[in-house]
């Protein structure tokens, strides 16, 4: 075990997997000579050469289309889109081809491919470059959608994604790249479709996705000062969802808050709230609440941007509302 940065853990996964399987190659913008916009692929060109680390032109639909074709014919591409915002240009390839080819070819051909995409807000990248598109991909049958939040998961989940026979959308929150944490040495994998209980609690369940799961853990500490014992679940897998872990927790705490950075309308929270009330109606002691980003194009102004993204304090407030309390001191 050693402490590593989130981005270094991702690089380690890529490196170890490429060493293990020659069919794996990387393709994306500036991933070779430049080492990746976020330095995740640093040094891999030197080690594996131009055939396996491909600097692509600025043409996302070409990159993803190329990856899909090569995956269908036996390779295992790992695509890096510079940010999730540019994936919209490749949306047709992802939705119409990557997600459907296994079905349309009667299961004879698959698309074992990973698309890595940094995303999320908080860096003053303004309205066009601050998206959280969990939902956009989470609604598509045929895709797997993952969002790790710890360096350990980053490595283990990327390995699982690379080894899966289906297209995996691998969402990396930009804000987490410099997160430091313990990463087990050598080979290990983290299963798809399993949420992680980050903190045990008895008063309410907070299910959070991507970076919000990190903030939810901070919020849980603050809630403890309010004598509220929150259970924090890091969703990790957006599609498929881990209903077992979520419902087990809600049956224990009887209350649920779902937190996401993206817009809440038709969001991750909406999906989980619907699923939980179906499964746990008689276990609920309070309405399920959601918290998400402000429903506006992300502002460039730093203060406005901050106000548009849920903070740990926002989570605390929303959690207290779930419990039926108004805030600090107001028992």
């Amino acid at each position: 075990m050693a402490e590593k940065l989130f981005r270094a853990a991702l690089r380690e996964a890529l490196d170890e997997e490429m060493e293990r399987d020659e069919a794996i190659y990387l393709i994306g913008e500036d991933i070779g000579k430049f080492g990746g916009a976020y330095r995740v692929t640093d040094g891999l060109l030197d080690k594996y050469g131009e055939m396996r680390v491909v600097d692509a032109p600025i043409a996302e639909e070409v990159i993803v289309g190329c990856a899909i074709g090569s995956a269908m014919t036996g390779l295992r591409p790992v695509v890096e889109l510079m940010t999730i915002n540019f994936s919209l240009i490749a949306f047709d390839q992802i939705v119409q081809n990557a997600a459907k080819i296994r079905y349309m070819f009667g299961g004879e051909v698959g698309v074992p491919m990973v698309i890595r995409m940094p995303g999320g807000a908080g860096h003053q990248l303004s309205s066009q470059h601050s998206h959280s598109f969990e939902v956009l991909y989470g609604m598509i049958p045929g895709l797997i959608v993952l969002a790790p939040t710890t360096p350990e998961d980053a490595k283990g989940m990327l390995k699982t994604a690379i080894r899966d026979e289906n297209p995996v959308m691998f969402l990396e929150s930009m804000s987490l790249y410099n997160l430091r944490g313990e990463v087990p040495d050598g080979d290990y994998t983290v299963p798809i479709g399993k949420a992680a209980v980050r903190r045990q609690g008895s008063d309410l369940t907070i299910v959070a996705v991507s970076r919000q799961a990190v903030l939810a853990a901070v919020a849980a500490e603050k809630l403890e000062e309010e004598d509220v014992d929150a259970e924090v679940i890091d969703l990790r897998s957006i599609r498929p969802l881990d209903w077992d872990t979520i419902t087990r927790s809600v049956r224990k705490t009887n209350r649920l808050l779902i937190v996401e950075e993206g817009w809440p309308t038709y969001g991750v929270g909406a999906e989980i709230a619907a699923g939980v009330q179906e499964r746990c109606f008689d276990d609920l002691d309070a309405p399920i609440l959601r918290l998400g980003g402000a429903e506006v194009p992300m502002p460039y102004n730093q203060s406005l941007e901050k106000a548009a993204i849920p903070s740990a304090d926002d989570i605390v407030r929303r959690a207290l509302k779930t419990i039926g309390r108004n805030g600090r001191g107001a028992a």
Binding site: K222, P264, T265, F281, D283, D285, R318, G324, A330
Partner: protein, 423 residues
């Protein structure tokens, strides 16, 4: 027209109370004039007008409202001041007539366009259809044979929740025959009920939490402080900027050095783990300028500041906090605390730990007392220090060693004015 909103005074402030309006509804106010006194959980402070115009008060005195909520408006002219709606008092669940129970207004995070009616109410008729109860409460009531109509809900909007049903289930007799409401318990004639300020309520809650959940033990030492008193006098007279160095400042420096030497003390017990703090930040217990209460302004990174610098900073932090105008960070992030009641003449006392810190030093008065020096009885200056320890975080030996180190430093005060070692 400009809105006057409940300001955010500290990172932790979530709501505030208007203690007093300094202007009347309808008064013409000028930019910069004090409008009201606001109280948060930690301090009270004044807010000023940010525009000229007629004041229209929206939130009455004594009401607690969340940070950011409009509490008044300032209109362009006297006639324009009246806003469309007067915000109602924060709804009190108990007093809301249940017949009028309306769906709770959603907050901004849900769909902005979702103006439609709430989904149809469940069609299933139950014996208690008229009561607002959570699904879980309904199930429990069914299982336990509790009649929901006999229960008063404690949830938002009077909703009956799990705890209400469980409480009712424990006293089935009460459910059948509701007791005639006993004459509301009247306060004894010779007792006057006084509502605490938010700060006092917070202190009550946190101190109870500390004393009931943190296992305290105490260690006391007596220090001979002739040298320290002498050095303080020398500093006052000879070192520019050090004129106002206090014994508390010297103790703060001593504690910082001792905390560096015994990092186990600079820690917390959180969720079954030790949290070792990388920073050494010391809180100083002081009374607020107005009213009764307790504030703990914090001097951060004490280990990286020399005596004079931290003396100046401590004075500034204390002044800001006592005046009710703390800067961000002034009231949080402490890793250890000092409470000095020496100026009130106490010999020694035991302080209650300020969680999540794991230690607090209680300081008594400096007194002339007989001391034995080299086998000779002399008159010397002594001061008693009592350390309160969170026994989960460290133990008797460490507590004794830490306090012994503080004593050694205070008795050899030249160590307190040594320059800070470069990192």
């Amino acid at each position: 027209m400009s809105d006057v909103k409940m300001p955010k005074l500290s990172d932790t402030m979530e709501e505030g109370t208007v203690l007093e309006w300094k202007k009347q509804d309808g008064d013409e106010v000028k930019r910069g004039e004090v409008l009201a006194e606001i109280e948060s959980d930690k301090a009270s402070f004044e807010i000023e007008a940010e525009a000229d115009g007629a004041l229209h008060i929206v939130v009455e005195k004594g009401q607690a409202v969340p940070v950011g909520q409009q509490i008044a408006t300032i209109g362009e002219g006297a006639g324009e001041a009246a806003p469309a709606k007067k915000a109602p008092a924060k709804p009190k669940a108990e007093t809301k007539p249940k017949a009028e129970a309306e769906p709770e207004p959603e907050e901004q995070v849900s769909s902005p366009s979702g103006g439609g009616p709430p989904a149809g109410r469940g069609g299933e008729k139950t014996e208690s259809d008229g009561e607002k109860a959570s699904p879980l409460a309904r199930r429990l009531a069914r299982e336990r044979g509790v009649d929901l109509a006999s229960i008063k809900g404690s949830g938002p909007g009077g909703r009956i929740v799990k705890e209400d049903v469980l409480a009712a289930g424990e006293q089935p007799a009460a459910a059948e025959k509701p007791k005639p409401a006993p004459a509301a318990r009247r306060p004894e004639q010779d007792v006057e009920i006084e509502e605490p300020t938010r700060m006092q309520a917070t202190i009550a809650r946190r101190m109870t939490q500390s004393k009931t959940t943190v296992p305290h033990f105490y260690v006391t030492v007596e220090c001979q402080v002739d040298e320290a008193v002498k050095m303080r006098q020398q500093l006052k007279e000879t070192v520019p900027g050090a004129e106002r160095v206090t014994m508390t400042d010297m103790l703060m420096r001593a504690c910082a050095l001792a905390l560096q030497r015994y990092p186990e003390v600079n820690a917390s017990w959180v969720d079954g783990h030790f949290e070792r703090k990388r920073r050494v930040s010391i809180g100083l217990a002081v009374p607020p300028e107005k009213g009764l209460g307790l504030l703990v302004p914090v001097v951060h990174d004490v280990d990286k500041k020399d005596l004079v610098a931290l003396s100046i900073e401590a004075r500034q932090v204390i002044e800001r906090a006592r005046a009710g105008r703390p800067s961000p960070g002034d009231l949080e992030g402490g890793t250890f605390s000092i409470s000095n009641l020496g100026m009130y003449g106490v010999d020694e006392f035991n302080a209650i730990i300020n969680p999540p810190e794991a230690g607090i030093l209680a300081v008594g008065a400096i007194k002339d007392a007989p001391v034995v020096v080299d086998g000779q009885l002399k008159v010397g200056k002594v001061m008693r220090l009592t350390l309160s320890v969170d026994h989960r975080v460290y133990y008797g030996v460490t507590g004794a060693q830490f306090l012994g180190e503080v004593k050694r430093l205070v008795e050899n005060p030249v160590s307190l004015v040594m320059p800070i070692a470069a990192e």
